[in-house]
């Protein structure tokens, strides 16, 4: 049946300045009424040429760069880079250093997931309440970071061979207090959202990623686990002694936005479990090995990966025996997770496109580097 009224698709720009792009990211959406017929993402507004800049600096000087790629999980980024350089130079990290790294990485995962869940729920239209609750708890984690290394966001805490400083005296009691409160707090958020009919209606069966697509697009992190694929670098390729800790991998059912949300919440619970074990079994001894300041690793290449809050965070470092890396490359999980955005958004409505974008949990600093 042909309608006498013709409608033409038109283009609206979501971003670069838009409340729900979480940074300077632009999504060019072609819509036919409310329905999205095409989506094109335009990135590069935040490009700072980090990979090239890193070739001009020494190995230690590059650590602050990694803070500034994914500024919501600087600890994980520090860790990935340090692991890559340690692998290249063959440096062993003392046990206490490894345990502190695990503690920091898990605290960072909690902080990052707080932000991810809050921003996602904000995108579904909740008027700031969940994000405010989550930011309140995130503050306490950032306070712990500040206590340890003086910085809250761009921590620059990990060093090649260990961590920069030992834990302060107050840290362990404060961290214990935090992880004691955390499960109840996650229950609170779950009570507000998980069975909220409107929230479920907005995210259930929205932006579905089938498992085949998730694997083909090499998605990682909660995006992959939401689709029902049990994959976690901490289990599959353990680093920093993760094989010693007892935790589970949460996986979703259908690969929709709601699954990614519940997977993130459950990961927060599992992080609390890891933190409990790590704090209980915190070994003594040095927190770092002595590494020469002008480190010149033997010629070669190394790729180290960690399970960052957003997925597989890989660092690839090539050495030519010089004081700075010959090549420095980051595998940013946000960028690769974002590659399925078109598949997720086309066919849905504009409101679904925003939910899909929110469920990816992007950090634009990491996408553009």
């Amino acid at each position: 049946m042909s309608s006498p009224i013709k409608s033409e698709p038109f283009v609206i720009n979501v971003g670069p300045q838009h409340p729900s792009t979480h940074g300077v990211f632009r999504l060019k959406v072609t819509v036919d009424g409310e329905k999205v017929v095409d989506a094109e993402m335009i990135i590069g507004y935040l490009h700072r040429s980090m990979e090239k800049l890193a070739e001009e600096r020494t190995y230690t000087q590059n650590i602050p760069f990694t803070d500034r790629t994914d500024y919501l999980s600087s600890m994980s980024n520090n860790l990935g880079y340090c692991l890559a350089v340690e692998k290249l130079a063959g440096i062993e990290v003392p046990e206490r250093g490894q345990a502190i790294r695990v503690i920091m990485a898990e605290l960072q995962r909690l902080a990052s997931h707080c932000m991810a869940v809050g921003a996602f729920v904000n995108d579904t239209g909740a008027w700031q309440t969940p994000i405010m609750w989550l930011l309140r708890e995130r503050e306490r984690i950032l306070d712990l970071f500040e206590m340890t290394c003086g910085a809250r966001l761009t921590c620059n805490y990990m060093r090649i061979g260990g961590v920069a400083f030992d834990l302060p005296k107050d840290f362990v009691p404060q961290a214990r207090k935090l992880i004691r409160d955390m499960p109840g707090f996650i229950d609170e958020v779950e009570g507000l959202l998980s069975e909220n009919e409107i929230f479920v209606a907005r995210s259930r069966d929205i932006a579905v990623i089938p498992p085949e697509l998730a694997i083909n697009a090499s998605l990682t992190g909660p995006m992959l686990r939401g689709s029902g694929i049990a994959w976690d670098i901490r289990k599959a390729d353990p680093y920093c002694g993760y094989e010693k800790y007892d935790f589970a991998i949460p996986i979703g059912y259908r690969g929709d936005a709601y699954d990614r949300f519940i997977v993130r919440l459950e990961e927060m619970r599992q992080s609390v479990r890891i933190l409990e074990q790590a704090l209980d079994g915190l070994p003594g001894g040095p927190h770092s090995t002595q590494v020469p300041l002008a480190l010149r690793p033997p010629a070669g290449e190394a790729y180290a990966r960690v399970e960052g809050p957003r997925g597989e965070l890989g660092y690839y470092v090539v050495s030519d025996e010089g004081p700075s890396p010959f090549r420095f490359h980051i595998r940013p999980p946000s960028l690769i997770n974002l590659s399925v955005l078109k598949e997720m958004t086309v066919g849905g409505t504009v409101a679904d496109a925003i939910v899909a974008l929110g469920s990816v949990d992007i950090v634009v600093g990491e996408i553009d580097r």
Partner: protein
């Protein structure tokens, strides 16, 4: 129907402010030429109802109270810098908006864009004409005030379309198209459900409805709980309050039809949105919560104070939902209106008509039967809300709210092979 109201006719008796306005008008009638009274009466009503009550409520309940309460909901303080406890914050907001430049896009339709806020304000003032603040405190005591209320409060839909279309902005157009589509769908269940009230009370006048509730000593909230629920949802939708604020959905279309408005032009929209929400609260307080009556207390406390407190209490519901709920998608909203609320409203209307006929013909209008109807209708409301949801395919237990947990990394695990913690 009579009212047990003890206020005297003296002009200084503040329990009934209409004495004061009547005295002023009488004095004016003696000194001024004929006809002045007809102009003066609505002006006095306007000053009384709008300037003294609505404007102050908008500023201190709508702006300040909402920000304070939502602040508490979100575990933060809310405004607390301007004046003690931040009470002067709304004044500061208004001053800031007044001094701000009101930008107009060069491609905008200037006439329509300028007139939209003005047209938006007009019905927000007009609607107070029929709201009974007290037994005699009604600016226009017309017998069809319910119809008047419904007519006046549907004008803003036109204004949002004017605003959205005139700005030449895609986000605005999106917002106004949404609001037009939604508001028209939500008028239908609203009117059908209110029809049940009209059938039951046999009047279209808001004042008579208050007197009806006073006569039977029961609030219509208890006799018609379904209508209250439907009214609240429809009012939220027409007022663009969360969870139905799709017209100005911030995370999707920036500010919807208000995207290009700035300064006091935006301020008028914002302030009058609160005004409409207050009007809806006043309507609900009148129709469902007994208006100015409070089981005899109105003989001692000025009835208009009881009424205003009820309005504010109902307005808290709007604040509460705004601070709690996410937003629905437009197609879900439309489906909710047509598939869910309209059938329920129709069934409710059918039941109420049956009750009315039984009451008049079989029971001779005996007073106690209204309590029986209240019990029947509350049971019916629960059964309908739950049962119809099940009927249209709502199955919450099919949505597990906890993910499955596995111990080892591996490949894809089909849903059937690992039992998850469903809810």
């Amino acid at each position: 129907m009579t009212t047990s109201f003890l206020a005297t006719d003296n002009w200084w008796d503040l329990r009934d402010l209409s004495n004061l306005s009547g005295a002023i008008l009488d004095a004016l009638d003696k000194i001024a030429p004929q006809g002045v009274v007809y102009v003066a009466a609505p002006i006095i009503g306007f000053i009384g109802a709008f300037a003294l009550f609505t404007l102050l409520s908008q500023l201190f309940i709508g702006v300040l109270g909402e920000r304070k309460i939502i602040g508490r909901i979100q575990s933060r303080y809310g405004p607390n810098r301007v004046g003690p406890y931040g009470v002067l914050q709304p004044i500061a907001d208004v001053l800031k908006l007044l001094t701000k430049e009101a930008l107009t896009p060069s491609t905008a339709d200037r006439l329509i864009m300028y007139s939209a806020p003005v047209v938006f304000v007009m019905p927000a003032i007009l609607v107070w004409a029929v709201i009974p603040f007290g037994p005699n405190m009604i600016i226009a005591d017309i017998p069809i005030s319910l119809v008047y209320y419904l007519a006046v409060t549907s004008i803003p839909v036109l204004v949002t379309f004017m605003a959205g279309w005139s700005q030449d902005n895609k986000y605005s157009l999106f917002g106004s198209m949404r609001v037009v589509a939604m508001a028209i769908s939500y008028e239908v269940p609203l009117v059908v459900s209110l029809l049940a009230i009209v059938v039951l009370t046999e009047t279209l006048s808001l004042k008579e409805m208050v007197l009806w509730q006073d006569t039977y000593n029961i609030w219509l909230l208890l006799v018609q709980p379904l209508v209250l629920i439907i009214f609240f949802i429809c009012a939220s939708a027409e007022l663009n309050r969360t969870p139905t604020d799709i017209a100005e959905a911030e995370s999707e279309i920036v500010a919807g039809y208000l995207t290009e408005y700035s300064g006091m032009k935006w301020g008028l929209f914002y302030g009058m949105d609160i005004g409409y929400a207050l009007a809806a609260s006043a309507f609900a307080a009148t129709v469902f919560f007994g208006g100015w009556t409070l089981f005899g207390l109105e003989e001692w406390v000025p009835p208009w104070i009881i009424f205003i407190l009820k309005v504010w209490a109902f307005y808290f519901l709007f604040i509460w939902t705004r601070g709690t709920l996410p937003r629905l998608r437009i197609d879900q909203l439309m489906a909710f209106s047509w598939k869910y609320m309209l059938p329920i409203a129709l069934v409710n209307l059918l039941v109420v008509c049956t009750e009315r006929i039984l009451w008049t013909d079989a029971f001779d209008g005996d007073k106690p039967f209204v309590y029986l109807f209240a019990i029947v209708n509350i049971a019916l409301a629960i059964a309908l809300v739950v049962g119809w949801a099940r009927f249209v395919g709502y199955r919450p237990e099919r949505t597990p709210s906890r993910p499955r947990l596995v111990r080892e990394a591996g490949g894809y695990i089909p849903v059937s092979s690992v039992s998850g913690e469903g809810r």
